[in-house]
Structure formats: C-alpha cells, structure tokens
Amino acid sequence: MHHDFIDKYSNLDSPVHRIDSRVKIVFFFSLILICVSTPIYHIRAFFLYFLILIAILTISKIPILHVLRKSLVIIPFVLIIALFIPFTETSETVFRFNDSPDLMMNRWLLFWNVLVKAFISIITLILLNSVTRFDDTLKSLSAFRFPIVLINMLSFFYRYIFVIIDEAERMQRALVSRLFRGRSLIHAKVIGDLLAILFLRSYERGERVYLAMCARGWDGQLLIVDKKPLILKDSAALIIGLAALLLIRLWSV
C-alpha cells in the first residue's frame, strides 16, 4: 500500500519545483494574506491572482483536475453560508471588524466575497503542497522562527502517518472480512476498540523509536535543519513575485 496523498506531484521536475521551498512558502502565504485582505469589489485583482495561480499551475505541470478535486473540501462551509443567505436580513450582520461598511449592503456580495477568497486561498495551498515536498516545507518553517521542537514532532508525524494508516487499513480489512459493517452507533464500540489497539500500537511504536534514537547516539539534541543562504535566482524570484502581488493589490482598484 503506497500513499502519496500529502504531497502528490511534489516530486515532478519543473522550474517551480526547483525554487527554494522557503521562497515558495513566503510567496504563497503572502498571496493568501493579500487576497484575503483585498476588498471584494476589486474584481480585477481577484482575476489577476487567479491568473497567477493558473500560470504557476501550467509551468509546474500539475493536473488541474487534481487541484480542483482537492479544493472540494471547502464546499461544506460555503454551503452553510449559502444556505443562510435567503434567511439573512442585511441589518443582521452587525458584527464587523474589518472590510468596508458597504459590504453589508448586499448579502450576495458578502457570499461572493467569502467564496472567491476561500477558493483562491485553497487553490494556493494545494499548489504549495503540489510543488514542494512536505518534508521540505516542514524544514523551511525553521527559517521563519517556527519552533524546532514542533518541526521535529511534525517530522515524526509525517514519517509515521502512512505506517499508521496502513495498519488501520489492515485492521479494518480484518473487520470487514469478518462481515463487519460499521454504519451504526452500536458499532462505535467496535471501532473504538480498534482505535484503542491502534493507539497502543502507535504509542508503543513511539517508545521503540525513542530506543532506536538512543541507540544511535541521541542525547536529546533535535534533528538538525541545515540553513543554506538563498541563491540569487531564488531571491530574484521572490522579489518579483512579491512585487507583482503588491502591485495588483494597490493598483487594480
């Protein structure tokens, strides 16, 4: 059983894949921040953000269907908001901290605002993990003063998530092959027992990992994240990228 569902396509080779992961993180996060803070009536800006994403998608050879399929996770939230629209009096949305007051005028505009921003942001996140290996993303976080202990824990997570899911799948298959159909609450006990065993196995695996680390000379030091300075090409890419975003944000009113 082979899972690559976290960073599928991150092993492709393209100019985008080759850019330093720190640059990609800064750029994509900035894109999201800037997009979220753009007033909704700047239609042109959103169009341009979207265009940038399409361009990156094309250069990096990521199948568009993959991105669209993964973006479906926002649907439940968008639906909840959409469902409420017919029942919402404009004057009811009185709690506002940011954005301009004229947004309150039109609830459809409000909905559109959420939908567009959520969609662009989610596509951006999916692109990030399609063009950057997940362990590179984790390591790069240290450049932004993200706690190293947490990065280490995340690395262990990433290392063992597939092992544990495999184990869960094997257990589930054993259940199903004994004619188990877990659809009702009575079966929650069975699923609970399965998860308990899975927890104990995971916990004990954590203990053995600790032993293995000690056996190889670990004395409490954290895994080292080597910091290389950015090469010229990557710095240039970053500056151009950020400048483009700022330009769009400031001038496309």
Binding site: D135, Y160, L211, R216, W218, L223
Partner: protein
C-alpha cells in the same frame, strides 16, 4: 585478548514483573559471528538491548573492556551498532538520507563529513539512488538495508542485529546475508532462520525462557535435534 562483549550474571525483570533474563553470562571475542536463537519470548531482544545499556539489569556488562555505567554510555553506544527488528522503528526520519545522517550528526560532524559518510554507507547497501526518498516508500528489503546503513554510519565496532532476515523473500534474505558477509567484523544476530544460520554465524547461542541453554559451534548446535526441539526451534 579482551572480549568485545562480556556479560556476567545478568538478570532483568520488566517493570510489570515479567522476568525476561535469568543469570545470563556470555563472552564474545573480536571478529566472531554469533547467532542467538530461541523461540519467541525467550528473551533474545531483551538481551541485546542490554549490550548498549538501553536496558540495565542486575549483573555486569563490559564492552571492549569498558564496564557499562552512566558515564561510559556514550562511548559504548558508539561501539555497538544496534539494528532493530522492525525497520519502521529504526528509520524514523522523513527521508532515507536524514536517517543515515542521524548518527553522524549526533556525533557532531559537519555537514560535508556527514554527507561523505552517508553516501559511502548508502553505496555499501546499494541504496544510493534512493537517498531522497521517504523510507515509507521503500520495499521491506530496502528498508532493512537502509536500517543497516543507518547503523553503519556510526562506524560501530560491533554490529548487533535483531532478526535481520525475518519477513524477507528468499532474494531479500540472500541480499542481507551477502551484505553482512561483506561488512565483516564482529557480528551478533538474532535469527529464526536455521537454514541460513550456518552461513551467517560460526557460533550459536540458544536461549530458552530467559536462560542460555547451549553455546557452541553452529554445526554442533544444528545437529543436536533434542536441543533444538527443547528450545522450540523445530
């Protein structure tokens, strides 16, 4: 000549009360290849966890002339290369390269020295092309070889392996046997594979219920059917 591993009257009880080792004494000389055999639960894994002080019971453990105690732990852990039974426990880093580099980095080497050692070890186990991959994506045999490489990167004087050929297909087993032969040096390995024992070890130690019940040349042990039966091996 001083023995590389000397164990005197070692007993160990797990915190929950399971008596896993009773009065074990064992002496292994430099360059020996020793197989430890015995049924499941005989105490083999518990015994080898004492070699580098991961567990500490009553009795004496002396490695290369150095008695194992708190202040010698670091030195001794560098001498003993312990390969765990399950490669998934042993390979805990996001990529194969990081795993091989783990021990050299702990030894305080700089990144270029680390890279030299890592590439050398990966080449020896035939995994140089896989260094960037995650261990998760390796086959079981590749994982086993990667765990051995991860331990070789410590430059240990004594290689201790817990069931190195279990769970492998015949070709995987052959590859490991050949790899161990090419590595050479002092080797202690736990195994259930009596067919391959002869090509892997010159001497065999038989354990049963926490005790050593026989210790002899491999050929003699393998021809003693009553002993093997008693130890639950046939």
């Amino acid at each position: 000549m001083i023995p590389v591993i000397q164990i005197e009257h070692l007993s160990y009880t797990y915190p929950d009360g399971t008596k896993a080792l009773h009065d074990i004494s064992l002496r292994i000389d430099s360059g020996e290849r020793v197989g430890i055999i015995g049924a499941n639960g005989a105490g083999k894994s518990t015994l080898i966890l004492h070699f580098n002080g991961l567990l500490q019971g009553e009795g004496k453990v002396i490695i290369d002339g150095i008695p194992l105690e708190k202040k010698t732990l670091k030195t001794i852990r560098r001498k003993i290369g312990l390969v765990f039974q399950n490669p998934d426990d042993q390979l805990f880093c996001p990529s194969v390269y990081d795993d091989i580099a783990f021990a050299p980095r702990n030894m305080g080497l700089n990144e270029s020295e680390v890279r030299d050692i890592a590439e050398d070890c990966l080449k020896r186990v035939g995994l140089l092309d896989n260094s960037k991959r995650g261990s998760y994506h390796l086959s079981w045999g590749e994982k086993r070889r990667a765990s051995i490489a991860a331990v070789l990167a410590m430059r240990p004087e004594i290689l201790v392996l817990d069931e190195p050929v279990s769970g492998l297909d015949p070709r995987g087993k052959r590859e490991i046997v050949e790899l161990l032969k090419s590595i050479g040096g002092t080797q202690v390995m736990i195994t259930h594979d009596l067919d391959r024992l002869k090509s892997m070890a010159d001497r065999a130690v038989v354990m049963n219920k926490g005790r050593i019940i026989a210790d002899d040349e491999t050929a003699n042990i393998l021809s003693n059917q009553t002993l093997l039966y008693k130890a639950g091996l046939i």
